[in-house]
Symmetry: C2
Subunit: 680 residues, 2 copies
């Protein structure tokens, strides 16, 4: 057990004051939590295994600051432990284009996940811990331990109040993730004041109910030995995640300590000065790091970390000799590369093949690919038999003691926890080793996970959502389950693929692009109902995000659709043809991918001179980017047989053809310019 | 205490078989939960206080079926207890345009809230219980009890796994809502199989940790006396909500009882037949209700309910005499009418008034209105000092024993629980008496509550979201807190007002329309930063959802914006004017309200012949409905000073003017038709 001396106190004061100085320099930010958490941060980080020269080292411990607003604390730690954060970077806290933004962002060295939106970090950490357990169970061999790291979390009352953390904490307990250790900053203050205004539950008891080990540190402000002792005990808890309830004082040392006034605004200058004096620092100086503090972290963290990484390299070298297949697989995964020739395994269809629901086609893809992709961790939020996310031979990711699977398992039973699943998927992706998280729910309930979905896009986690039952086509479950606004919502998120494939080739294309992509998440919106295999579709064409399914010379109209409405416009075009009206047919399975094509290509799909009408049984509000007119739904769905609902809402060949004719008439004699032309 | 006999068993069998017959007739639906829950349903409903002739009676007990997929159970109960549900209605289960849709919908008589999306119903029920407690504390007088009803909930494992239920259950415990009683259908089955695959936490212990009373019924399939006894005990628990853990067998009586096969598909015909035989019914007949069962419910529910309503009417008549002011207020509220002359209290501004953040202007409105509107229950998800949702004299809604407020309080400390807040607001609205729930968070975190927000729109609950920090204008908190896709998302939801007011008059207009509206929720997107009072704005004009702020003869361009970008386009227009370019200025604070205006009016705002360019610092994907070109953000925000970010993204008068000039040039010589013209 480590013992503590004056240098530890000095290091803690340094961390505290670096954080306070950052917030003061910006005159914006959150000094309260860093002041309260610096002791725990120091005790934890002085034993962290990490290598700032190699921040992506798979063997590192992970640290997640779930209360991301306390990032001045994290930036201070990253500076002191040798990451690429200079004092000048700290001085630029919260300034545009700085390396020290207002909340920690994934692209920064040493930042494991983007945090700030409360409840996400702890939930990401559960995902990281899952990935670590899977990685260790899959690759560790006797005498060759490639992974035995811990995931540490700091979280506050806000994170504990958010439902997403309840979902993932319950699952972490079920999964017996002993590699997960969370420090609860029990400072009894949130923005609205004392937690007694809204949060009087017994958190420790709740976490025990989840199956966690709960430990206590009564004086988190000063009792370093107590923090250390809890940490050691937590690390021994091999089959339970641990919550360390650590009572602290928000803004410790400040004149406003213990109040919410110290949470989210810079301390007043005289408060900063008295704080520095109190901690034995020169009140006139800012951003001061005593050399012995640098030396301490160098000796206790940087040097041991470099050494550990070097030892790991040796173990891995020997591993590659002894287990050449696995070694090769790991090298590929570490290099973030895909399996060789994997695209050859993607199913190809012809119009003669039978009609199949796209959710089923997705299952066929997973069935074809899973053995080549050990990095795929699939799962569903308790809709496995509806989402069809589980290949036949899948082993469940479960604690071995459950008898239901083991940690090599690659199928996660998320339970009815969509938001938690989304946040865990982000964590699985963030672990490294090219993990590909694939999670299923109904498209409508991806909305429950909005908070995690947008962070996947912001962070660039290439997770894949299998979002089935993607329209009124789900039928009898009715409007509570029928997405209307969902695609408009998802398509408005930057850096987000939103695939709505129309047949088997397009489903293969969606996987083709989504798996190839290293920094963009994807939602695959899939049908419950069968769809025919289309004449004119191909993986290659659909992989462009949009293409001409059927060309028509001297066309009167371009009809464009996605998913289940593509075969509908094909039928409508036949009806129109019988009346002498010529329609081009465009399938546009993913806006995001289509937007990445050259303008020439895009204009070949949506040329000038032909009015364009889109057809999609969802809100049409995002379609005007490509179409002059849109046939969609501006109201909620209904409960009934799918066919009856389509008919009632006029999503029939006749309903489409009538609107197409009106569109043609409307644009007759007018100059028709493709919406793709833009003045800026 | 009630005693039970054969008639009770017969009633239960009737309920079970009515549910099974509905699902069989539709060949779609969920027979498992109704079979398991029928005994509890019967025991509960035989003592419910309700009046099917007056389903809106404020004194009624509420029943919420949180596991809404079990709706065949609810429809059976509503039929038996005299609501306007005929046997023919039951036969139309899950058919288009029927009164028996696949999940219960709010518009149906006797359905208290729309359920199906898991976790919502129990959370709505917490809101209903809050409203009941507030109503009782506000209006009950000695000898004049106007409200003492209970809110009962059925919920399953799925509801308990969802984070939203964790949020609201924690708050319900904090608030000591003794009027809330939930029956947990502990059948150990979810769609993925046995709950042991993902849900092994100790739920009872968790609810105790929340401060709930937890009771047990070991044999929920048959032990009617046990259910009754738990119910009686729960009703005595005056300062704790109660969870009754009731172990049942899903699909009780079916050949597939106890398995997930019985959850979500019709029973096979021979299974239905053996079930009917087993329960002593003729296997050849369907939808059978023995007359003695009708008689039983008539005697135990319908007649006592009618009597109780009549007695209540007498109490209220006497109340109105003794407390004429309160009586008048209640009559107004029951009639769903607004206070007289309330609009006169809306603040009016002129361009001479100083620049103020719209969040602050919203606070001023609440300050002006709160005393006229006893029905407003405001609150915030732990961002009171940021959302400015609390008037100075507000009393917190708190259990009196907390010393922090009481149940007459009209300000709810929701804690960091956005989704829970949204679901509770829906419940508060559903209680009746014209309750107006107003809840605050950052606009970006309305997304956390997407599941509840769409149900507000689907159900027509006129709740109001105060969504502050509505753009990159929030500055340093950075991209994790800056909404980009959020307005596109919300505007794509049918029946949803999404106000983004530009100044004081527009904020007043937003409240004017939102409070007037009885069936449409509203989100008010408000700035953190100050905005000038505009020349040309007025409550009357802005109440149309969009209007010409500044007209220009022979204009070269129409610039349209919302919120903080309206003053930006005003400045851009000045810059353009200095170059001889004439710009019309349109403010469009709410698409939904604007869309309700006449086409003539709409075309006067967006006339033909002038190209239209929108400016909004969020995703532009929903703008093409009104604008030919859009200047928005197709990427995430950044952490930095708000002014720096606006500049970096070129949201400056120069940046707007440049794009306006390009737009004018692009359309020069082309025929320009207003996008409001539609061929269909």
């Amino acid at each position: 057990m480590a013992s503590f001396s004056d240098i530890d106190k000095l290091a803690i004061s340094t961390i505290r004051l670096l954080a306070v100085d950052q917030v003061a320099a910006a005159n914006s930010g959150h000094p309260g939590a860093p002041l309260g958490l610096a002791p725990a941060a120091h005790v934890l980080w002085r034993q962290m295994r990490l290598n700032p020269e190699n921040p992506e080292w798979i063997g590192r411990d992970r640290f997640v600051l779930s209360n991301g607003h306390a990032c001045a604390l994290l930036y201070s730690l990253l500076h002191l432990t040798g990451y690429d954060f200079s004092i000048d970077d700290l001085k630029q806290f919260r300034q545009l284009h700085s390396k020290t933004p207002g909340h920690p962002e994934f692209f920064l060295p040493g930042v494991e996940v983007t945090t700030g939106p409360l409840g996400q970090g702890i939930s990401n950490a559960v995902g990281i811990a899952v990935a670590q357990a899977n990685f260790a169970a899959t690759y560790n061999k006797p005498g060759h331990t490639l992974s035995d790291s811990f995931t540490y979390v700091f979280l506050g009352d806000g994170c504990l109040q958010e439902g997403v953390s309840s979902e993932t904490s319950s699952l972490a307990g079920h999964l017996k993730l002993g590699n997960l250790i969370a420090f609860w900053d029990d400072n009894q203050i949130t923005i609205d004041g004392n937690t007694n205004v809204s949060f009087t539950e017994d958190v420790a008891k709740r976490y025990e109910a989840y199956g966690w080990e709960v430990l206590y540190v009564e004086n988190g402000n000063e009792d370093l030995a107590g923090i250390q002792s809890a940490l050691e005990e937590a690390k021994k808890s091999k089959d339970k995640p641990t919550l360390i309830k650590m009572t602290t004082t928000i803004g410790f040392g400040s004149l406003q300590a213990g109040t919410h006034a110290v949470h989210g605004a810079a301390l007043k200058p005289d408060d900063v000065r008295q704080l520095k004096s109190k901690f034995g620092f020169d009140p006139a100086k800012s951003f001061v790091v005593p050399q012995e503090v640098y030396d301490f972290y160098n000796q206790h963290v940087i040097q041991p970390g470099a050494k550990a990484n070097k030892e790991w390299d040796q173990v891995f070298a020997s591993y590659k000799e002894k287990y050449p297949e696995l070694g090769k697989e790991l090298e590929r995964r570490f290099a973030n590369q895909l399996p060789e020739n994997w695209t050859e395994k993607l199913p190809v269809y012809s119009p003669k093949d039978s009609a199949v629901a796209t959710r089923k086609l997705s299952e066929i893809v997973l069935e074809s690919l899973h053995s080549s992709f050990p990095e795929i961790l699939a799962g569903s939020a308790d809709l496995t038999s509806s989402n069809l996310t589980r290949w036949k031979e899948a082993v469940d990711f479960q604690p071995p003691s459950s008898g239901l699977g083991d940690y090599t398992g690659r199928y996660i039973r998320y339970g009815v926890r969509e938001h938690g699943m989304g946040a865990m998927m982000n964590g699985i992706a963030a672990f490294g080793a090219h993990y590909k998280a694939v999670g299923g729910t109904f498209l409508n309930f991806v909305s429950y996970a909005s908070g995690a979905v947008r962070l996947a896009a912001l962070s660039g986690h290439p997770v894949i959502w299998i979002a089935t039952h993607d329209s009124i086509g789900l039928g009898e479950d009715g409007p509570t389950h029928q997405p209307i606004e969902t695609l408009a919502h998802l398509r408005a998120i930057p850096n987000m693929q939103v695939w709505r494939p129309a047949d088997g080739n397009e489903v293969s294309a969606a996987y083709h692009v989504a798996l190839n992509n290293k920094n963009t998440p994807a939602v695959l919106a899939l049908t419950r109902q069968n769809l025919p295999q289309l004449e004119g579709s191909s993986i290659e064409k659909a992989s462009k995000g949009g293409y001409v399914l059927q060309e028509a010379k001297d066309a009167n109209i371009t009809l464009v659709a996605t998913g289940s409405e593509v075969s509908l416009i094909v039928d409508a075009a036949k009806l129109l043809a019988s009346k002498g009206v010529k329609a081009r047919i465009v399938s546009l399975p993913d806006f995001h991918t289509f937007d990445l094509q050259s303008q020439d290509y895009q204009l070949s799909v949506f040329p000038d001179g032909v009015p364009i009408m889109s057809v999609e049984v969802l809100s049409p509000s995002c379609w005007a980017k490509y179409a002059h007119e849109s046939f969609g739904l501006d109201h909620f769905g209904a409960s009934g047989k799918a066919g009856d609902i389509f008919k009632a809402f006029q999503f029939t060949p006749e309903g489409v053809a009538t609107r197409a004719e009106k569109t043609i008439k409307f644009y007759d004699g007018k100059q028709v310019i493709s919406p793709l032309h833009k003045p800026f």
